[in-house]
Symmetry: D2
Subunit: 239 residues, 4 copies
Amino acid sequence: MAINVTIWNEYRHEKLKQDVHELYPDGIHAFIKSFIESDDVKVTLAALDDPDNGLPDDVLNNTDVLIWWGHMAHAEVPDDLVERIRQRVYAGMGFMPIHSGHHSKPFKAILGTTGNLMWGRNQKAVLWNVAPSHPITEGIPSHFELVEEMYGEPFYIPKPDDLLFTTWYEDGNVFRGGCTFTRGLGKIFYFHPGHETCKSFYNEYVQRIINNGIRWCAPAKLDSSFNGECIHQTSPVVG
Amino acid sequence: MAINVTIWNEYRHEKLKQDVHELYPDGIHAFIKSFIESDDVKVTLAALDDPDNGLPDDVLNNTDVLIWWGHMAHAEVPDDLVERIRQRVYAGMGFMPIHSGHHSKPFKAILGTTGNLMWGRNQKAVLWNVAPSHPITEGIPSHFELVEEMYGEPFYIPKPDDLLFTTWYEDGNVFRGGCTFTRGLGKIFYFHPGHETCKSFYNEYVQRIINNGIRWCAPAKLDSSFNGECIHQTSPVVG
Amino acid sequence: MAINVTIWNEYRHEKLKQDVHELYPDGIHAFIKSFIESDDVKVTLAALDDPDNGLPDDVLNNTDVLIWWGHMAHAEVPDDLVERIRQRVYAGMGFMPIHSGHHSKPFKAILGTTGNLMWGRNQKAVLWNVAPSHPITEGIPSHFELVEEMYGEPFYIPKPDDLLFTTWYEDGNVFRGGCTFTRGLGKIFYFHPGHETCKSFYNEYVQRIINNGIRWCAPAKLDSSFNGECIHQTSPVVG
Amino acid sequence: MAINVTIWNEYRHEKLKQDVHELYPDGIHAFIKSFIESDDVKVTLAALDDPDNGLPDDVLNNTDVLIWWGHMAHAEVPDDLVERIRQRVYAGMGFMPIHSGHHSKPFKAILGTTGNLMWGRNQKAVLWNVAPSHPITEGIPSHFELVEEMYGEPFYIPKPDDLLFTTWYEDGNVFRGGCTFTRGLGKIFYFHPGHETCKSFYNEYVQRIINNGIRWCAPAKLDSSFNGECIHQTSPVVG
């Protein structure tokens, strides 16, 4: 059965800056769609300035994996939308915040973190695959290069379930740049490449990692005994 | 140097129910104080119905470790207080939610969780120490018994940094009843005993665990290079 | 492509004890084969008393996932076979020690542990699924019952990557009875049911869990840059 | 009560190479002793060419924390000594392998790993403190520089309990260079600086980290109920 992926994009930089527009003329979300859409991945596009910020109930509640790209307008995402996303993740929806999504309201609320980190200029970066057996790193070599905005330690995140990538930067920094988490029944994969003025989304390994991530984040098939409730008193399990 | 512990208690059950009043005549917070106060632990008491809910800035900002007991009035804790506590924890304050604190607003916001679980009647419980080398379990035997309200799996918490106790219940349930977490610079220890109609706080091992927990949760001595900021662009580290 | 599973069984109890023989007339390994063999799982049977203890190089080196059942004859497994298994796991082979495999030489050598635990009589056991989103627990309810030999805490294992099942026992014990680990490139899943005088392998959930485990433990598809070597000096990655 | 630390050193490079001899004229072990000995740390020196390889039972069995430096003569460490060390760690002794200790027999046997990694020339290294709240990083800034032999990913270690330091190298590599593990009742801290031709042991932060590590690795005070045995059948815990 196909995975329903919704790609949410702030979609502002692409309209405001010529260099970004040239890289991603239809928006970063449309570009991501171009390399993930397939027989088993159905894609919906959503943007901040769409009605209901692109995520009315009928879209959000039918999303298996939500990819999130935001940067300059984090503050404009309404709190009640954040809460609806949070509850969806805890109920099993996958969540993939990309790049500056580390500072988005959903990331901070879902994980329990400030998302703070160090940052610097665009520069040469080497991504090291430190979990070669993980499904998300399948087919990825021990390391590969990008030119990316520097995101560096200290990165104030909860300890990841799995650390997949550690990134090296020319300026002397390192970054836990690919991390998985579980919250409630939902799986979360944070991946740092994707600055609006960089070409990382054109990189074959970045594309492969995002595709692997979608499959890993897809909701588990749960037995009905997992209902997430905390309201009824339980009867004895054994007589 | 002494650790400043603030014990926050909802302090309602003790006033409303005769059996609770008899167990904890001056409140659960006052009873906890009686077994933690010492030369190196200074205690402040705080209650929901105190001015500023017991946690004005001058108290909260001078707290090293915040112990939290709440149950019937979770909803009355103001959201801005929750946010102030959250920021304090991320900046290094220790946090020890006890018993039904799993469903308190601060627990859910700080960790990123619904805190949902299964629950049942008061009954025989056996707490198994599954991390005997951890500082919080120092001096605690492999197992000990309590009579406690049943809290059981599934418990929808993020994967703990360390699982310290797993509790067995007469009715057939188990519970990850003692867990540590790190969020930002702050350390968190959740411990499940302490129902208002049970005598767990009188138990010597519960007392020892809470005392060990306070020392483990106390803020680390941090170098000034950890400022938690994410607002300035960083200069290159290497030339 | 099919997964090559080798089921290694000590295969002694079944020949020595009438009650075990009746439960598993062709051996525990043959019984496991009956519920895992399928279009995508090819099975080889191996036993301690076979030539080369059932695991000559041409079998071991073509095994994707090794299931291990041993109990009374741990000491008869030759050390050089243990070392060959260890190297295969570190190079990516999956390993599934079942029940008393916690005390087998391969388990202890591969993980780095004594494998010690508490044990007791056969009794009612409730297995709680504490990681409902994990691929190995797919389709498994929040809990189910078995009659099993008691294996209890303290269980002296390294902290698991993921704790999947916690088992409750009638006699007051608990056990981290389903755990995953990674060693080198290999994935390991330990699962406690399967005593020779119990009928756990007939249970539909036990069968499902073992089938899920095989798929989870199967070797990752690795890029050739992961060669596991430590002998050549590396050239600079960046110019 | 004082912590008994034994510093085991291969003690060969210092005798064979003039440049190493000049840096560490009495051996690396004697140099480490000079910055850790104190009122609460008692030090014993041990070397490969000492009788019983420096670790007869009366020394090993009275050691609280064993620091290990070995490189060119790993193969000369007898297997029965490795097994004695392994059992001591599982019974609670702390273990601190330094630098090329990642490839020592005790490291590989205790943890369950090949210890393999990438390595390269001595060069500029920046150590990033990624766990600022951990007792071992107390007083350590967000980052500091060394000149060190390059040790890089992929590093084939089990997932650490805590990742404390990630190291950046001039040549484009990164390394999980400070890691903690628990095995049985023993705590293990691996730390990568300390090549024989580098001056890392003269660095104030390296000295502080080793001193913090000793205190963190010191054996826990255990209740007698933790005896590590697996030989007696257990009586029911509850009636």
